[in-house]
Symmetry: C2
Subunit: 391 residues, 2 copies
C-alpha cells in the first residue's frame, strides 16, 4: 500500500519538491524536452518553464538543439543536465582494489584513480589518505571539486554515521569510516554496504531500471544484497538491511565465520564456486570468472559442475522471493558470470518453488548490467540523493 501522509506540507515545499523531481529525472533518465518533462511529471508547461529557467540560472542545466532530429519542423530544445555543475566523489573499497571516481550529474564517471590492494589488508587510515589524494588530483583534472562523498564497503554499515560495524573480508571491526572521511575531507560523507549499493545502481541505471520490486544478490568473497520494494531501496534499523548472505539455507551445512552453519554465503559465495569448479584455493577472482565463462557454451557440463551452487542459490532465492515478492532478481558480482544455462535453470526452479512467483506469474532472474561498476556507481547515487534534493 502507498504510504499514508503523516507530516504536513507547506506551499514552499511544492516548489522545492518539483525542482528536485525535475533534476532527478534528468540525472537518472537523461536529456528531455520541456513537453516530455511536463507529461512525465504531471505538471503544466508554465510550471516546467519556471523550473527549467531557475535551473538554467543556477547553471545546473542547459537547453540545447538535439543532435538527432525527429520529423520536420523546428526541433524542440532538449533540457540537458550539466555534468560538471555538481560532482560527487564515489569510493569503492573492495577486497582486492580501491577505486575513487568523480561522477557528475547524469551519472557519468568523469575521472578515476585505482589502487590494487593486498587482499583484505587495507587499513582505514590508508583509505582516508588515498581518497584525500585522489580527491585533490581528480579536482585538478576536472577543474571542479566534489560536493559530497559516497563510499561502498563490503561490510555491515550503520548508515546514519557511516560506522563500519564489521567488514570481515577487510578484517575491519567498528571503524568510524564516515566520520574519519568527513573530518579530513570536510564534505558530507555517506557510507553503504557494497551489495546494497550494487542494488541501488542496478535499480537506477542497470538491469532493474524501472522495476518497482527487485532483489539484488551479489556474491564475491561475501554474499550480500539489496532490496527494492515499491521503487525504493529498503533500509532497515540503522540501514542494516540486506545481510542476505547470512540467511541459513542449509542448517547442516558448512560452518560460517558468523557462527552459524550453512549460511547462503558459505554455499554460493566465492569459496563455494571455487570448490564447485575444482579450482585451487588461491585461484583469484579473474581465474574463477574465466572458468565460468568457459562453461557458457556447454550447457550440460555447466549445469553438472555447478549443480550444488545452483541448488542452494535457487533455494535461498525462493525463500527471499516468498518473503519479498520481487518481479526481478538481479545476480551480481561473481554470480553475474554464471553460464546462461545455469541462470535459466535457477529461474525455473525459483518460479516453481516460490508460492509468490507461482501466484503472480512474474519472476525473472537476470544478471547485472553494470558488472563490477555497480558498487562504485551506487556510492555515487548515495552521495547524489541529498545533494539533488537541495541544490
Amino acid at each position: 500500500m502507498a504510504s499514508p501522509p503523516t507530516a504536513g506540507a507547506r506551499p514552499d515545499d511544492v516548489r522545492r519538491h518539483n525542482r528536485a523531481a525535475l533534476l532527478r529525472r534528468l540525472h537518472v533518465d537523461g536529456p528531455c524536452t520541456r513537453a516530455a518533462l511536463a507529461t512525465e511529471l504531471g505538471l503544466n508547461r508554465s510550471t516546467i518553464k519556471t523550473l527549467v529557467d531557475g535551473l538554467t540560472d543556477a547553471g545546473l542545466v542547459a537547453e540545447q538543439v538535439p543532435t538527432r532530429r525527429a520529423g520536420a519542423g523546428r526541433p524542440s530544445l532538449l533540457v540537458v543536465p550539466r555534468a560538471t555543475a555538481v560532482v560527487v566523489l564515489a569510493v569503492d573499497v573492495g577486497v582486492e582494489q580501491l577505486t575513487v571516481a568523480t561522477v557528475g550529474i547524469g551519472g557519468d564517471v568523469l575521472g578515476r584513480r585505482s589502487w590494487v590492494l593486498e587482499r583484505g589488508r587495507v587499513h582505514p587510515v590508508d583509505v582516508v589518505d588515498r581518497v584525500t589524494e585522489a580527491r585533490r588530483r581528480l579536482a585538478d583534472e576536472l577543474g571542479v571539486d566534489a560536493v559530497a562523498v559516497g563510499v561502498s564497503v563490503p561490510g555491515t554499515v550503520r548508515r546514519a554515521d557511516g560506522q563500519v560495524h564489521e567488514a570481515p573480508n577487510l578484517h575491519w571491526t567498528d571503524v568510524p569510516l564516515g566520520e574519519q572521511l568527513s573530518r579530513v575531507l570536510r564534505l558530507p560523507v555517506q557510507v553503504g554496504n557494497d551489495a546494497d549499493l550494487g542494488g541501488l545502481a542496478e535499480h537506477t541505471r542497470g538491469a532493474a531500471r524501472n522495476t518497482a520490486d527487485a532483489l539484488y544478490l551479489s556474491a564475491d568473497v561475501g554474499v550480500g544484497g539489496g532490496v527494492i520494494s515499491g521503487g525504493v531501496l529498503l533500509r532497515g534499523t540503522g540501514g542494516y538491511v540486506g545481510e542476505l548472505g547470512h540467511m541459513v539455507v542449509r542448517p547442516d551445512g558448512r560452518q560460517c565465520y558468523c557462527g552459524c552453519r550453512g549460511c547462503w554465503e558459505t554455499e554460493v559465495g566465492e569459496d563455494a564456486v571455487r570448490r564447485a569448479l575444482s579450482l585451487p584455493g588461491d585461484a583469484d577472482r579473474a581465474a574463477i570468472v574465466a572458468e565460468l565463462r568457459s562453461l557458457a557454451d556447454d550447457a550440460e557440463l555447466a549445469r553438472h559442475r555447478l549443480r550444488g551452487v545452483a541448488d542452494w542459490l535457487a533455494l535461498g532465492l525462493a525463500n527471499a522471493v516468498n518473503l519479498l515478492a520481487p518481479e526481478l532478481v538481479v545476480l551480481g558480482g561473481l554470480l553475474a558470470a554464471l553460464p546462461p544455462s545455469v541462470v535459466a535453470e535457477v529461474e525455473e526452479v525459483v518460479r516453481r518453488r516460490s508460492m509468490v512467483a507461482r501466484a503472480s506469474g512474474h519472476l525473472r532472474v537476470a544478471t547485472a548490467a553494470l558488472g563490477g561498476e555497480g558498487p562504485l556507481l551506487g556510492a555515487a547515487e548515495l552521495a547524489f540523493e541529498p545533494v539533488l534534493a537541495t541544490v
Copy 2:
C-alpha cells in the same frame, strides 16, 4: 534511503495532503488539541485552524472540552474524530469463523456479526451472502451505511483486484472475491492476506505502533507475515509480499502441500505445535492455546516441550531479520500464546544468530497486542486508507 521525488506536485495537492495527514493523525492516535496538531504535523496554527474548520463543516470532526483537565486555566479544546462520520465494513474470513464488523474513524468496532464455519468448508458465495446480510443489519443498527470494504483472507491475494489466488485452508483457488463483493455491495472493496493485515493492524494500533521497521509473523493453520519497512507495509509485485510460511528452513524436513520440504509453516504452524504438545490431531485452536497457556508458569517444561518449534522459529526469524533488519518481531496468531520463557529464548537466539541484530544492537521479539482481532482491524485499515485520503 528516503524515496527521492519522482512526480511533480501542485499547490492544490498541499491542501489535500494536509487535510489527509490531519485526519489520519486523528484516526490513528485519537483526539488532540490544535496546538499539538500544529507541532506534530509541522504546520502553523492558522493552517491547522483552516483545516479543522473544513473538517468540522464536513462533519468529520468536532471540537470538545476535554473530560480530564490538566493544570489550571481554560482547557484547550480537543479535536475529536466523529466515529460514525465515515464507517467501513471489515470482513475476516477465517478457517473456523466469518466475522463482519463496522469500524468508524478512530478504529473502534461499532458493531459486528459472526458465523462459525465448518472448518475449511466455506463457499465464496456464502461469504458474499453473509457479508451482504451483515452490511444491511449493521447499517440498520448504526443508522449509517459503510462507504468501503476491507476483507482479510488466509491466502495469497492479488491486491489490485482482490483475486484470491490460493487459500489452501479454505480450499479456494482463483476466487475473484474482490470483484464479486464489489458487484453485489456496490462499494469499493480491498482484499488482503490475513497475516499481512494482522501486521498492518499491529503497526497501526498494536505492538508495532510507532515502529518503523517491524516483522509480523502469524501462525495458525498456515504461517504468514507482514513486513513494515520505513513505516510502510510492503507490497510486492501484485501485493503478494509476505508468503513467509513457505520459506524453507529445513531442507530435509516434512513435506509441505506447496511441493517443498521443511517450509516454515510445516515446522512452526498449528500442526507442528500440536505435535510438540502431543495433542491429538483433532485438537482445535482453543485446546492448543489452553495447553500453551498452561505452560506459562513452568519455564523449563515449556522450553523442553516446545524445543523443536522454538528452534525452527528462531532459525527462520534470524533469516528474515538478516534480510530485513527490523527492530521488532511481533508474533501473532497461535504464536501469541507461546509461553514468555519460550519467546525470551527465541529472542536471545535470534539476537545471537543474526548479523544484523548483532550489528544494530536492537531487536525485540514481542507477542501481538490485538490478539485474534488483528486481521479484522487490519482489513478496516485497508478500507480506510484511500477513504481518509480523499474524504
